[in-house]
């Protein structure tokens, strides 16, 4: 019986015997903490700064798959004094003694200088000795220098596999080929290119594939992690599209009634724009949260989402022209910009089946509303809705934002720029007819959660789902 209780796994996540332990090591200021941030999708991990010696202790991070630790990563201080350490090691354990690597490192760790001049280096080497493997992070903009080779000699002496990861590979000053050649000469042939600011979409896959080659006993763990990452990525994408679809339906269905006097109508148009802008802000906030980017990095909505177009007001005709959306004759400018006077014929552009469905749903929901609208119409009230072109712009903008978030590493500190992603994107959204779901939303004001008389309905839920599906296929 005592054996049984001894064998019982520790409760919860404290049991990570199967977890792979990786030390993230490298020269100072090469982006070790950035790599951990990007791998964990956690912008709050550690401290990231473009200066040497930012991280000065070892910090652990567990990557979880369904609540269990798959990989435990350790962020370490940067190596800065490898050359002098090698000199010191030659004194401590002269080559003539023929000690093996780990024993030499151990002798150094037992020496007084491991708490003195080489305190930082000692932390790194101690952690690497405990781990299953090391990830050697390289700033690909740095030239290959003797100090890097000396560092690799030191790290290799710990007796664990090393996987070099080239960071900042998108920089024009990168020296990827130089590094690959140098690493090959040191016997390191498996190399991963992983820019922590803008990681390739399959960057994590490559990293874990190469690790699995080096650590075949952990291959199944890494495979599970990879699958989980792929699944999470898909989930994020679907969630994001659902958020955008919800927003589009809300804004398309938004309809304000106004008395026919021009000043009252201008006020209503302003209110309409305000509501739409606020709804877009909500959507952006939700997207940022879903992709785990900091809202605190974005104190003012219009600042971080730079790029002229983003700065531009949603309702400015120029904003629409710039993304190549055909601005119809109905598109008003000035005080009424972006608002369309609904001619009470919104249904006519719908397909017959949708029209019947919408009408039936509407009737069933409450003929009184229709009656109120007709009455208002008779009194000469006008109904304002958001222009088609604005809906197009919103779709394009949000899809570009999703693309930008998917390409952004969690170590990135610059503002998000989506202007490049908006170009040549979603041709269908610019020119073709708006999706059926949006047209139906136009005819169904109670679909808008922005409206006071919002009514949940199955048909709206379905429309959101179908619209998200259409956005996914664009």
């Amino acid at each position: 019986m005592p054996e049984l209780s001894n064998m019982a796994p520790a409760p919860g996540r404290t049991n990570h015997n199967g977890a792979l332990r990786l030390a993230v090591v490298g020269h100072t200021n090469t982006g070790k903490t950035s790599l951990l941030r990007t791998l964990s999708r956690n912008p709050h991990f550690g401290e990231v700064k473009d200066s040497p010696g930012t991280t000065r202790h070892v910090e652990g991070l567990r990557l979880l798959v369904e609540g269990d630790t798959a990989v435990e990563l350790f962020d370490t201080p940067g190596l800065e004094d490898g050359m002098a350490l090698l000199d010191y090691l030659d004194v401590l354990a002269p080559p003539a003694e023929r000690l093996d690597g780990p024993s030499r490192i151990q002798r150094f760790l037992d020496s007084p200088e491991s708490l003195g001049r080489f305190e930082q280096e000692a932390r790194v080497l101690r952690k690497l000795l405990e781990c299953d493997a090391g990830i050697y992070v390289i700033d690909a903009r740095d030239p290959v220098l003797a100090k890097h080779r000396d560092e690799l000699t030191l790290l290799a002496a710990c007796g664990h596999p090393l996987l070099p990861v080239l960071n900042f590979t998108h920089s024009p000053e990168q020296r990827i080929e130089e590094w690959r050649g140098a690493l090959a000469r040191l016997g390191l042939h498996a190399v991963v290119e992983f820019d922590t600011i803008a990681p390739p979409l399959d960057g994590e896959d490559q990293l874990y594939d190469k690790l699995a080659l080096l650590l075949d006993t952990h291959a199944s763990t890494l495979r599970a992690l990879k699958q989980d990452i792929a699944q999470q990525r898909l989930q994020r994408h679907e969630d994001a599209l659902a958020l955008v679809a919800e927003m589009l339906i809300d804004i398309a269905a938004l309809r304000l009634v106004s008395p026919p006097e021009p000043d009252r109508m201008e006020k209503a148009a302003e209110q309409l724009r305000g509501l739409a802008r606020k709804r877009e802000d909500h959507c952006i906030d939700a997207l940022l949260k879903r992709y785990n980017f900091r809202s605190s990095d974005f104190p003012h909505r219009h600042l971080p989402l730079k790029g002229e177009r983003w700065d531009m007001d949603l309702f400015h005709p120029q904003a629409l022209k710039e993304v190549g959306i055909q601005v119809g004759k109905g598109m008003a400018a000035g005080a009424m910009a972006g608002a369309t006077l609904d001619m009470f014929t919104a249904g006519i552009s719908l397909g017959a089946a949708t029209l019947i469905g919408a009408a039936a749903g509407g009737l069933w929901q409450g003929a009184d509303k229709l009656g109120r609208r007709l009455l208002g119409r008779l009194r000469g009230y006008q109904e304002l809705t958001v222009d088609d072109a604005v809906l197009r712009l919103l779709s394009i903008r949000e899809l570009a934002l999703i693309a930008a978030l998917e390409r952004r590493g969690h170590a990135a500190q610059g503002p998000i720029d989506i202007s490049a992603l908006m170009d040549g994107r979603e041709e269908a959204l610019r020119k073709e007819k708006l999706p059926e779901e949006l047209l139906e939303a136009r005819a169904t004001p109670e679909w808008s959660t922005l409206a006071d008389d919002y009514q949940p309905s199955l048909r709206r839920t379905e429309a959101v789902r179908r619209l998200a599906g259409k956005l996914a296929r664009l």
């Binding site: 919860g12 652990g60 800065e80 003797a146 999470q232 909500h282 939700a286």
Partner: protein
């Protein structure tokens, strides 16, 4: 039936879904609630995303008093429902009493219409709503009930609760069946009341039955009565014989047995075309409600829930640091001290300089000893040996400003500086980023270098190397600061040194 009445039927967790939806609406209207301690509690135990969202909602709802509001709302809803039920029963009784009248002769066609007309019409409409797929089938009764409950239960959360309930029922495809159960239930009560009144009146009073028509032929009426009576007759309510039907036209005296046959027929009509279909529909609605409730799932793509995923299901967790870092000490290296020189030679050396930044031979003024680029440990040792053996007066050390200054390099530079009478540093290229230059300056000054040890540009350094001592690292270099180097971009010693 109404959720209020179905505490037993609705599994307990229906409340959790309801609260989660209420919380979702509340957070999207008034911003997220503070939930750090709740999150910690949730993350300490394993659980799926859905389970965690529901548990979070439950915890926050209890903290914010929403759960209590829900209980209150529920009791109000139950009360309203009781009112409705009582009213339905009484209306049923009234309808039956009205259909039969105070006594005497009863005209059959209006009586049947009064008893069953509205019910049948509403039932047919309910059936027709199935043809309109996707459209949410509400019910006049259900929405009236909800409206009244809304009026009775007040308060900020009490506004959200019914909205959340509707949203939830609609999303979970429960709305049709919940509304159906409610209205069928009320109709069952009304019809039961009607039936009881009918039986009671027929038992205690004397009625005679007749039918009247102007336009139709008596044969039509016979066919109609027999056609309608066929179904009840299968259930044990015999249809009146054709002779009785025919002779019941107009005020004619009939035997008592004939009136008894008519009353049985009437009761059979109410049971077969009123009560039974409603009971069946009620049973179907409740069965489907029950089944759907046992498979309730959270729509995790909704705004307000989507954003919770990264926080409730973190893909990683930090495990803390090994031990605090020691306080930063400026390296205990001695300050740069110029040695009394013996020679007067000028020398130049590049430390860890990539090839493209290296000096080209013809650039250098005559008499300058190019010690080359020093990188590896043997090269460093050789250089130190050279300088030890033969002191240099003017030593220009060049570094790559684009690299990150590290302790190892800084220590080596300090060592070099100690071996020359006038050590000078030049950071290349001239147009390197200002922040990086600043970092180099910071690190080197911490190690004991002074502002006057730095040149801003390659041209200036060359000038100094060519033997114009006054020009080099003067104080104004320091004033200009390292950032000034940027302004000198392109000054890579172009024509100056030719």
């Amino acid at each position: 039936m109404a959720p209020g009445k179905h505490q037993g039927v609705m599994p307990k967790n229906f409340d959790n879904f309801w609260l989660a939806e209420t919380l979702r609406l509340r957070e999207s209207l008034w911003g997220p609630l503070e939930d750090a301690s709740e999150l910690r509690k949730l993350q300490s135990a394993p659980g799926t995303f859905e389970a965690r969202v529901l548990a979070r909602a439950r915890m926050l709802a209890e903290r914010e008093g929403m759960a209590q509001t829900l209980a209150q709302w529920r009791s109000v809803a139950r009360l309203t429902l009781l009112l409705f039920a009582g009213a339905a029963f009484l209306l049923g009784c009234g309808a039956a009493a009205g259909a039969l009248g105070p006594g005497g002769s009863v005209n059959l066609a209006p009586a049947v219409t009064a008893l069953l007309g509205l019910n049948t019409l509403a039932f047919l409409l309910w059936l027709a709503s199935f043809l309109m797929q996707g459209s949410a089938a509400g019910s006049v009764l259900a929405s009236a009930w909800l409206k009244l409950t809304r009026k009775l239960a007040r308060g900020p959360d009490a506004v959200l609760l019914p909205r959340a309930l509707l949203e939830l029922l609609s999303r979970q495809r429960l709305q049709r069946w919940a509304a159906g159960a409610l209205s069928h239930g009320l109709w069952v009560l009304a019809l039961a009341g009607a039936l009881l009144t009918l039986v009671a009146l027929l038992v205690t009073r004397r009625y005679t039955f007749h039918w009247e028509t102007t336009l139709l032929s008596p044969d039509t009426f016979v066919t109609l009565v027999q056609g309608l009576g066929r179904l009840p007759s299968l259930l044990g309510f015999p249809e009146p014989p054709a002779a009785i039907i025919r002779s019941s036209s107009g005020p004619s005296t009939l035997p008592d047995a004939a009136h008894a046959a008519w009353s049985i027929w009437l009761i059979g009509m109410v049971v077969t075309y009123g009560l039974l279909p409603r009971l069946a529909a009620l049973a179907v609605s409740i069965t489907i409600l029950k089944r759907r409730q046992s498979t309730l799932t959270l729509d995790t793509t909704l705004p307000g829930i989507v954003e919770l995923r990264e926080r409730l299901m973190p893909a990683s967790e930090s495990t803390g640091i090994d031990r605090p870092a020691p306080s930063l000490t400026t390296s205990g290296l001695p300050p740069v001290a110029a040695r009394p020189g013996v020679g007067t030679r000028r020398a130049l050396v590049g430390v860890e300089l990539p090839a493209e930044l290296a000096w080209q031979g013809p650039e250098l003024p005559p008499g300058v000893n190019d010690l080359g680029i020093v990188d590896s440990r043997p090269e460093r040792r050789r250089l130190l040996a050279t300088l030890h053996g033969d002191a240099v007066e003017q030593l220009l050390v060049c570094c790559d400003a684009r690299q990150t200054p590290d302790r190892g390099t800084v220590a080596f530079l300090v060592e070099l500086a100690g071996l020359a009478q006038q050590p000078r540093l030049l950071l290349l290229p001239d147009d390197a980023s200002a922040t990086r230059r600043e970092q180099w300056l910071q690190q080197l000054m911490n190690a004991g270098f002074e502002v006057e040890h730095f040149f801003r540009t390659r041209a200036e350094a060359l000038h100094w190397l060519a033997g114009n001592p006054g020009q080099g690292g003067s104080a104004d270099d320091g004033d200009a600061g390292p950032q000034a180097g940027q302004a000198f971009s392109g000054g890579k010693g172009g024509g100056h040194d030719a």
